[in-house]
């Protein structure tokens, strides 16, 4: 694992709606992203994956995803809480988090940025627009943007 620009880095997709999962994966494919995608169906599962707990207890904790696409409205632990926990933990606080949600509420947007989201993208109803949006954010976060080197031994 190099911490350099990583076009093959894992994408953690936190999404409870299987339709949206399918559509997101299709949008990835249409944008020709080859990155492996791990899907967590709720906030708790996402946290387990990140902190190698529960179902993911055997996973290498140093293997962090290159990008987390986080929905806000999730069963068990909601998106905001996931974001708060990620930012509060030394190991994950630099993780790139893009909020990908249907919510148009100004309050959600403001809170997300306050908690340290890197981007906030609203899922358009029009699938063409959705494909374009996913393509743009993937291109930016997975290829263009240079992530910081993690301090400590995690990198």
């Amino acid at each position: 694992m190099t911490p350099e620009i990583d076009p093959k880095g894992t994408v953690l997709l936190v999404e409870d709606n299987p339709d949206d999962v399918a559509l997101t994966l299709r949008a990835f494919k249409k944008n020709h992203f080859m990155n492996p995608v791990v899907v967590a169906k709720d906030g708790a599962e996402a946290l387990d994956y990140l902190f190698c707990e529960g179902e993911h207890a055997g996973r290498d904790p140093h293997d962090l995803p290159a990008l987390m696409l986080l929905d806000l409205k999730l069963p068990k632990v909601d998106g905001m809480e996931v974001l708060r926990r990620v930012r509060a933990d030394e190991r994950t606080k630099l993780l790139r988090v893009v909020i990908l949600t249907t919510s148009r509420e100004q309050q959600d947007l403001v809170t997300s940025y306050e908690l340290g989201a890197n981007s906030y993208v609203r899922k358009p109803v029009d699938f063409d627009e959705f494909v374009a949006a996913v393509g743009q954010l993937g291109f930016y976060w997975l290829m263009l943007n240079e992530p910081p080197r993690p301090r400590g031994g995690l990198g």
Partner: protein
């Protein structure tokens, strides 16, 4: 003094309470004092009256006594006088044995002498009678005619010196009207005591008057002398009045009370216009006369009616030696005048005191009632305030709950309602892409229709959410220039459709007071509509400005586009109400409803005017700052 300033109601209510109790105590003390003063006043008045009556009684008795004694003394003097005359030698000689012609001459000389000395002593005339009662002197006289004088002569011839009551008689002229006379008589005796005749001296009937005048006092005090029939033997102080009420006649022979007035009670005050119901003959003798005739001394200070019907107080007695009654009377009003004056002063003082007490009690009572009323009103006000606060709190929390629910609902809608739409659209797209070649033309058309439907639904949801957000949003008013907001909106529109040729005229500046964010949304919709509904015109015009309106000015946004039929104007601002089909002009029918809600939430009004194909004008007002 921030501390005292911060608690004025408590402080003031405490002092008001203090005043209240102090007022009650001082009022109680004052009432007690007034009560004591009233009792003392009443008792004092009683004592004064008793004392006054004692003094009045003493005065009356003393006057009556004085009059009686002086009358008796006067009578004795007169009797002595007539006796001394009767004892003269010339008189004795005149009644003695005849001595020839010298006797006639002697008689003439005596007649002259008696006339002279009698006149000098105030006598009006005399009779000298012989033992048989024949007239000796004056020569040629007819002798006593009146019964009183005849009786007097009889007594004198029987050896008794006597005085008559006043009587009516004539002097020398037998044709003159009778007048009041009074005679004294004494026997004429020789050296051995044999009765030779009688001498009568006649004087004016009111000769007694001077002695009675001693009992006159004040304005109404008088002394009356009367005989056994109640006939008045003296004059009255009130003769003018008696004449005017007809109690004595105006005939010269009867024009005085003396010997013409019988002291009877007329039954009411004649001086005050009382007209008696019974003839004078049936009236009873007055209280004092009746008392005197019964032989008793007496007095009455409570009041009884005299011969004028006036209430008088008085004292009376029968004087045996004079054979007449004496009464001393005074109008009760005058007799009690000093006492009434004292009583008036005292009562006025007490009345003043009483009114002061009543007034202060009234004030105190009013103050108390007002204080109680005030306290009640304050308590009620406090209770109402508490209830109101409670109700406001309840409503607020209910409203907050409702708002939260609404927010949750809106959040749900924005998140959950759109997700399936995206699914429908996405999978339709996938179907088209992956299996499009297996579908025929109409199959692919249906898929297109499915996607168009989902997109329209997405728009509807977005607009509804905006309307809901506008309804919920907190209004934060500020000074705002609608002109610059409008220019921003138009700039966006031009960028979206750069090929459109639209002349936009915006009055500048357009100062207003409102929430800039919400007003921007309103202008987005109004100018967006104007832009949209002029889209079929090659050369469109949009204008924004103000016009003068009743009570201020209104903003307007005017276009020369498709317009609308005024018959449907009332539908313009309803949710999902559209006057054009989606094919003609796209839209959801939520925009104007949103605008109307924004204007209404600011407290403004919105209305529209237009005609088909003649353009539309939307007017709205916004309250002034501070309104």
């Amino acid at each position: 003094m921030p501390r005292s300033d911060s608690r004025p109601p408590e402080g003031s209510s405490r002092s008001a309470f203090g005043l209240f109790t102090a007022g009650a105590r001082s009022t109680r003390v004052m009432l007690l004092a007034v009560l004591v003063a009233l009792i003392a006043g009443a008792w004092g008045l009683h004592v004064i009256e008793r004392q006054f009556r004692v003094e009045l009684s003493n005065r009356l008795e003393a006057s009556l006594g004085a009059v009686a004694s002086s009358l008796e003394a006067w009578r004795s003097d007169r009797l002595r006088e007539v006796q001394s005359w009767a004892g003269r030698d010339a008189i004795e000689a005149a009644l003695g044995e005849p001595k020839g012609s010298s006797k006639a001459r002697d008689l003439k000389a005596l007649d002259r002498e008696l006339n002279l000395s009698g006149e000098g002593m105030g006598y009006l005339g005399f009779w000298l009678l012989d033992a048989e009662g024949r007239v000796v002197l004056p020569v040629g006289g007819v002798g006593p005619e009146a019964p009183e004088e005849r009786e007097l002569a009889r007594q004198a011839l029987a050896g008794r010196s006597w005085m008559s009551h006043p009587f009516l008689g004539r002097l020398s002229d037998p044709h003159a009207a009778p007048r009041a006379l009074l005679s004294v008589a004494a026997p004429v005796k020789d050296g051995e005591g044999r009765i030779l005749g009688a001498l009568l001296l006649r004087m004016a009937g009111d000769a007694m008057e001077r002695q009675l005048q001693a009992g006159e006092s004040g304005r109404t005090g008088e002394t009356l002398a009367f005989d056994r029939s109640g006939l008045l033997l003296c004059d009255s102080r009130f003769e003018d009045q008696l004449r005017s009420i007809g109690l004595i006649g105006s005939d010269p022979s009867q024009d005085r009370a003396l010997l013409h007035l019988v002291l009877k009670d007329p039954g009411g005050n004649l001086m005050k216009g009382y007209s008696p119901t019974t003839p004078p003959g049936s009236w009873l003798l007055t209280h004092d006369v009746t008392g005197a005739l019964s032989g008793q001394r007496g007095e009455n200070l409570d009041g009884y009616r005299d011969y004028r019907g006036v209430t008088v107080v008085g004292a009376w007695r029968w004087v045996d030696s004079l054979d007449l009654g004496l009464a001393i009377n005074m109008d009760r009003s005058e007799a009690f005048e000093p006492f009434v004056a004292v009583r008036r002063v005292l009562l006025s003082g007490l009345l003043l005191l009483l009114s002061a007490a009543i007034l202060s009690v009234w004030f105190w009572a009013r103050e108390t009632v007002q204080a109680r009323r005030r306290a009640r009103a304050e308590a009620k006000l406090r209770r109402l305030n508490r209830e109101l606060e409670l109700r406001v709190a309840q409503r607020t929390s209910q409203m907050e709950a409702a708002n939260k629910e609404l927010e949750a609902f809106a959040y749900s809608v924005s998140h959950d309602l759109r997700a399936p739409l995206r699914g429908i659209d996405g999978f339709s797209q996938a179907l088209m892409e992956d299996y499009g070649d297996q579908l025929d033309e109409s199959g692919r058309h249906y898929l297109t229709r499915v996607r168009a439907g989902t997109q329209r639904m997405g728009l509807l949801i977005d607009d509804l959410l905006r309307l809901s957000r506008v309804s919920r949003a907190q209004i934060e008013p500020a000074k705002v220039d609608l002109s610059s907001l409008a220019r921003e909106v138009v700039e966006d529109l031009r960028q979206q459709e750069p090929e459109r040729k639209v002349t936009v005229t915006i009055q500048a500046p357009l100062p207003a007071f409102g929430d800039p964010h919400l007003l921007k949304i309103a202008l987005d919709n109004l100018l967006g509509n104007a832009w949209k509904y002029t889209s079929r015109k090659a050369d469109a015009a949009i204008e924004m400005g103000t016009i003068q309106e009743e009570g201020g000015h209104a903003f307007f946004v005017k276009d020369d586009g498709a317009g609308f039929d005024m018959a449907y104007a009332h539908k313009l601002f309803g949710v999902f109400q559209r006057l054009h089909s989606v094919e003609e002009f796209p839209g959801t029918g939520v925009g104007l409803a949103t605008v109307a809600r924004i204007i209404h939430r600011h407290g403004g009004r919105i209305w529209a005017a237009g005609a088909p194909e003649k353009g539309a004008t939307f007017f709205f007002t916004l309250p002034e700052e501070g309104a």
